[in-house]
Amino acid sequence: MIADPAQVEAAADTDPAGADPAGADPVASAAGPSRFDFEAIGTHWQIETPHPLDPATRAAVLARVEAFDRDFSRFRPDSLVTALARGAGTVDLPADAVPLFELYDRLHAATDGAVDPLVGARLEELGYDAAYTLRPSESTVPDARARPSWAGGVTRAAAARGGVAVSAPAGTVIDVGAAGKGYLVDLVASVLRDAGHTEYVVDGSGDLAHSGGAPVRVGLEHPLDPRKAIGVAELAGVSLCASASNRRVWGEGLHHIVDPRTGSPAREVIATWVVASTTALADGLATALFFTGAHQLAKTFHFSYVRMYADGRAERSRDFPGELFA
């Protein structure tokens, strides 16, 4: 989930071959995979490849992330989304927005409105704003159902270069937190593929894409104890996204997964994991499962999942590639 402010920070480099100034010959395959770590959109990222990414590819990755963030982050004063919220009336979002908004259209319909990018205004009211106020303020719209929704709350039209012109009144806060980070993982993966990489793991802290090579075993972090896992997923050529309400917490019952239909954070479900063909889809469904049953979502989407409840139980779809510890 896109959540935090969002500078692309220094690209810390833990790639052993790259860190070696005399490393003329990348001995990556003998020394294990190469890793490229960086901080972006408010969290930690890591790209793992059999051979080091060259500097141009690294730069392209960082540029891709920065561009997405500059367009879509509601935590940045200079973003297009912020401009819209402040009353620009119409902003031209780039072509990146098209598949992302199409996914949101489907998620919004499949969840009867539970997944809605316009939840941003409510998140800010609850204190999760660019300044990290982290204190709820008096709601200007006490009845959550009276708020504008994704169905009708914004108007969209084709814009130059394949983009989308989005029009909405001031105060309309688009938050692409449900699927945006997963989508960005996909965008980064396409940068890698464009550079000729077929084997990689792009891990955006909870949302990851795997391609080629050996399967990756991923622990499903216990939402109540980050030193533990409640299960393991084994992934090959697919994406896994996790969502949990344990880290972005700023008060009693206040966290970042909010149902726009009630204006309240989710209670019963405390963590979800979804495996799907794209990271954007997995990310969006991981959020959707906080509010909507898997059976309902399965009418629209193909995925497998694990869902954990506040009472310590967890359920999984039969085809989830992994195991739970019982």
């Binding site: 989930m1 982290l134 949302d207 075993r217 622990g219 499903l220 896992a229 409640i230 880290r247 019982a326």
Partner: protein, 168 residues
């Protein structure tokens, strides 16, 4: 091994709601994804369910190309929706059976409930292992990565600390 266990769970679930799915004859429909490509002549969908107290059914053949000579039932996936009365009112579940050579190779029971209590109940059917999970130490499970909620930024963490300090 996994399959066997799931099958057992699925069948138990069937019994638990007094839903029985009677399979009779060949099931084929025009929308079936047939490996053979050639659609079989349309026949009446033949997975009829005799659920208690009421059921509607439809059948789709997911794999009708399989050899079924000598089999009583045509290979394929049969689907039925059954309803039952729970303490929370009328609820529905979807049942999907896959047959190959008269052997049930897969059973899926999917809840349709909207009542929260029934959701919990039916999830146990649907997933078999909607049970309490235990955490194992990450060091002990041989994983190369961990997926949970995203790590938070320094700014967020600092703001939370400030709030805690103010509240103290």
């Amino acid at each position: 091994m996994m399959t066997t266990r799931q099958k057992k769970i699925g069948l138990t679930a069937l019994a638990g709601v007094s839903l029985s799915v009677a399979l009779a004859g060949c099931a084929t429909d025009a929308t079936a994804e047939s490996d053979a490509g050639a659609a079989a002549p349309a026949e009446t969908p033949a997975a009829s369910s005799a659920a208690t107290p009421a059921a509607t059914s439809s059948a789709s053949s997911g794999d009708s190309a399989g050899s079924s000579s000598g089999s009583t039932y045509k290979d394929g996936t049969y689907e039925a929706t059954g309803s039952y009365t729970s303490p929370n009112g009328q609820e529905e579940i979807d049942v999907s059976l896959t047959l190959a050579g008269d052997v049930i190779t897969a059973v899926t029971v999917t809840p349709e409930a909207t009542n929260p209590n029934s959701v919990n109940y039916q999830n146990q059917f649907a997933d078999g292992i909607a049970q309490v999970v235990v955490g194992k130490d990450i060091d002990e499970i041989e994983v190369s990565r961990v997926a949970g909620s995203s790590l938070t930024s320094g700014g967020f963490n600092k703001a939370v600390e400030t709030i805690k300090a103010d509240a103290a």
